[in-house]
Amino acid sequence: MAKILTAPAMSRCIGCYSCMLACARLNYGSYSPRHAALQIRTQGGLQGRLVADICRACREPACAEACPTGALSPRRGGGVTLRAEECIGCQACVRACPLGVIYWPKNGRTPIVCRHCGLCVRYCPHGCLAMEEVPDAE
């Protein structure tokens, strides 16, 4: 069975950004938490709630459908896999994602898309994020 990233307990989130820093550091070699495939942010400032913008692992991902070269292809369990060498940098995926969670880095050549690798989960001190087992797509 494949696993996908979920954010089942965001009410516990303290906004420490350790998850984003882990994704940026380990997946993208960047110090910048903006260069992460998930984004934690506040709704209504710190008096409001903390929310997670994550890839929801669509079974029929619009981003992959929009990709003209097939650089993005549906992943077992949902979401997509990126073959960077096939990406032409058109950003159609960014426009296609219904939740707006594909990020195009400034001056970047390929998108930042979630791999559902679970590194962020390992650096969450409060159990806000989790990896969930899901049946493989048919």
Binding site: I14, L21, L26, R34
Partner: protein
Amino acid sequence: MLNESYIRVLDVDLGTGRVRALRRPDLQRYLGGVGLATALLTEYVRPDLDPLAPEQPIVIAIGPLSTIYPAVTKAIAMFRSPLNGELGESHAGGRLALAMRYAGYDALVLHGRAPRPVYLYVDSDQVLLKRADTLWGMDAEEAGRVLRDLEPGRGHRSIMRIGPAGERLVRYALVNCETYRHFGRLGLGAVFGSKLLKGIYISGDCDIPIPNVKEYNRVYTEIYRRIVSTDAMQKYHDLGTPANVLALHELGALPTRNLQSGRFEGAAEISGEAFAEHDLMRKVACSGCPIGCIHIALLRQQFGDEHEYSWTGISYDHELLYSLGSLLGIASRHGILRLLDRVAQKGLDAIATGVTLAWATEAADRGLIDTRELGTDLSFGDVEGYLKAIDAIVEGRSELARHLALGVTAAARHYGGEDFALALGGNPVAGYHTGYANVLGQLVGARHSHVDNGGYSIDQKPRELTDEEIVDGVIAEEQERNALNSLAICMFARKIYDRPTALAALKAIGIPWTEQDWVDLGRRIYREKVALKESFGFSYRDLRVPARFFETPSMRGRLDPQRFAQLLELFNERLNAIRVA
């Protein structure tokens, strides 16, 4: 700058709108944070001019480890203080360090006076001065809400703003940073106000590549594990600093009713334990810190029959529960939260407000002032009176209100009652009456703050200390903290960032400093701060301690003025040696 051999400074002239982004390799030797800010303040400040003169700079600096290591979350502001006329320094958490880092600046220097109210907009591509006429007059919460709606970048931005207190130049006005963190001490809010600067928006999204992911990840992860998996920081994320309230009361070290006592009969009611059980709503963190020490209480207020309620989240800490609690004789958590809400909206430093009101209460009792000028009576424990007094002070409604807006030291100089005005070096004191090291530490500390050198902690050593141990302890700790604050770590993580850890963290990002470099930096900053203070007219030979600190027994018993004079004499000997070294 990470991966570069220079410090990047954004210099903004608010008067002309001229903006310069400067590369300063010469400042690398200060690392960042306090060291960098001290160097820039020395360069820009005008000791010959009033603290609120347009030419005076506001310096805000971060350090090389900011955001990219756990709990390295502070931004350091330095300025000439309008409260005591000398070295202004204040540290704030929140998201400012992150926003500056990824906007691409190690330091901001703002000077000049805008021709009309403005806010400064900074992102990684542009710097703009935007009109703030309509924001002028708004309280800190409303101004924050409007700026959040107007500007982009949620999650990666910092929004600083002042409230009415800063606009009206109350000398202990603060700068609010992300609602729950503040540049609280020594009046930065009034400096903003004097420049017609309502706020600063900073957002950053630039990519900064990691040269050595493996080594950096190893050091990062080890620090992260020590923070989240050991009990090194348990105090801060459990009850938080309010755990001190009951503990200090039991030691006789909790300043109560303007330090007429070191014990408060209402301590249990306003303790960290009671807040956690009854009022704690959630905890949040500064960006890049897994601890989550920001304790937020629910203030629920009934505004109508038929169970009509409003709610607000109020952050609380030991210093706030002391200054607007025990020091004012307030044994009601609800009452304290209402006062905290009021000072937050107005944009006032809670410690200075509490100390000023406590002095005014006692001064009125003694017939030195007539509080009818504030439109209210003041008596210890009376929340309604204090709420009215805060409004009157901010609005400057009377001569008395305007004197109180200048701070407790200035007010006592005018009306009398200096013996019970609880400020040291012109800065209202923090919530500890532990002994000699606490009083000495705040008196000789560069910013007259309890966290300059942790004197209150030195006092709590299990055995009696000699004069040498007290004086040398205060100096050594301040020098060490100068180096740590150049990294701009949160002081709550100071036990995590011991010297080997700090040096390893630097090395893993390509800054190979030695222990000797580290020690030299702490000393150099110490000397440079002393020089700055003296350029502002401060004299270590002419220091006064209000009698109240000697009259009311501390945790260590009654303090002896003669022994204290000896400590000061010894301190001056040591200082002379530091000057010539």
